[in-house]
Symmetry: C2
Subunit: 348 residues, 2 copies
Amino acid sequence: MNILINGSNEIEPKKKIDAKAASELRQDLVSGDWVVIATGRAKRPDEFGNFQRSHDDKGIATCLFEDPVASGQEPDVLIYERPNDDWSLRVFPNKYPAFSNGKSRNVGEGPYTAVTGHGFHEIVVTRDHFRHLAVMDIMEVAEVFDAYQERFLALMNKKDVNYIAIFHNHGKEVGASIPHPHSQIMAIPVVSPYVQLELDGASKFHKSNRHCVFCTMAEYESESEKRVVFENEEFIAYCPFASRAAFEVHVMPKKHSPYFERITDAQKIKLAEVFSKALGAIYKALNDPPYNFYIHSAPCDGKDYPHFHWHIEILPHTSTWAGFELDTGIEISTIQPEVAAEYLRKQF
Amino acid sequence: MNILINGSNEIEPKKKIDAKAASELRQDLVSGDWVVIATGRAKRPDEFGNFQRSHDDKGIATCLFEDPVASGQEPDVLIYERPNDDWSLRVFPNKYPAFSNGKSRNVGEGPYTAVTGHGFHEIVVTRDHFRHLAVMDIMEVAEVFDAYQERFLALMNKKDVNYIAIFHNHGKEVGASIPHPHSQIMAIPVVSPYVQLELDGASKFHKSNRHCVFCTMAEYESESEKRVVFENEEFIAYCPFASRAAFEVHVMPKKHSPYFERITDAQKIKLAEVFSKALGAIYKALNDPPYNFYIHSAPCDGKDYPHFHWHIEILPHTSTWAGFELDTGIEISTIQPEVAAEYLRKQF
């Protein structure tokens, strides 16, 4: 089995997928990790969408982000205003930060390594309590990406900031304790271990194939079409071959670029179009499920990462990762990504 | 920061932990992964235990595992009987397997690698619907480990089985869809990616230090005492320095051994004592929380893994891994493992 375990990075046609197979082990082309597509346990696509709208549980009257100043949040570091003098988006430091600005100190012990959690932890809030990203129009979504970029550029050169995580939780089941739409930005001293796996995989693939592994996937998916949710000239959204959860979608620039923060204004609108279509399809197909999405961009530690390729991963909360996933890191999903993508395309 | 990012495997005393620090980034000594101990968001130890007994939701009358034969489960592959003719434990194949016995076939596509999910997926059921592992006595727990070992030995030499995952889900929040106490065994063709990370980390550590990284931790923890929950001559249970969740506990043999399946009968009783004490303390301290536990043992792919060291990881479901964890793989925990261990010891 070793030939299969270690995989092959050669790009050559292999056998067609057999839809009747009881289950498949699929390998992530970048990280080398495995997932199981257990079609023997399959549900129909329309059986995944039985969610309660948990993000409406807490009312607007007691919302901490409806008027951040009045509710005692930290002072804004960025604010976008509308012509009518109301704000449309604001960014402020988290009142209960997982990382806060300070001196980075070694606090290891015995054989162990540890440092104080120096960094920055910010909240990106949009104006409307109920207008979450899946129902925003393209220009509203583009404005959110604008804010992500502006804060990325402001934080990336701060002392000891080597990685910037940008993510969004929707639904209390996936960590959104405050239902008002908001994203989080954490600027941290260590490189994300998951991005490190992708960096290693991308370097290895490039060494073997003289081509970017993410470009390879974007090109193959665009050509084969079956896992594509939506694409335009600049971006493609597709259900990954080795999806870790039912209806997972990745959004990727078609032109090679390691660095999210270098996106142009024109590209941001193209990104917003593809992202909105994909997230809107997930919203409709699964009846407003809880989801997380996050941006994977190259580290900002002063090194070059020419073989990385920034992208967004959208993970709807369609299953519980339990003993097997926690034990092994192999996720079990119960729908083929090809079937999920087809169902998402039907939502347009 | 690179000197900190890459860590140091030298064993030398470092500065004492500062309990007043807002948060700490701690590095896992084996995998190199990071966690955040965010004490600025800390709860008191007794604030973690507000769980509903969800595993009692479904009644015994409709339980599928109360009489597996009558409820149409697959035929037993192992049964332990009591002198009174009732059974005490049985093992049978999962009716809805994630992996099933068959021919391993390449089902890759384009640049991607995939194989059919050949393998074995079994259920280990103990007799009593309500008597779950945290409340069992030592000899009952030893019998469960006995069954794990017996099935491991039976499955490890099957064709194309290269890794055996043994895990247990308690509570529907962490994947136990059937509340009757049961464990699962999956014999699979690929090595667990998480164990592969541990194998790589253990090899690297051994190369630098000529000593097992797990032995290093067991020895250091036993000597420093502050994170120890319980220990006897053969095993130690402690809250890991880089705990990924509040009240995480690892159980490890003190004598170096890569292979769980080589445990002796005498050792099994010593293991059951330490495991029962640790799980019982979690049960009492957190008011019967949902939890997963699993065994990490060396792969059974015919190779030798002299630098691995088998162990059990118990993960109580004390937090939701949300955007940041899914994005980066860095878990945020809100209690220091030293404080968690002290609170667990108070339960005896």
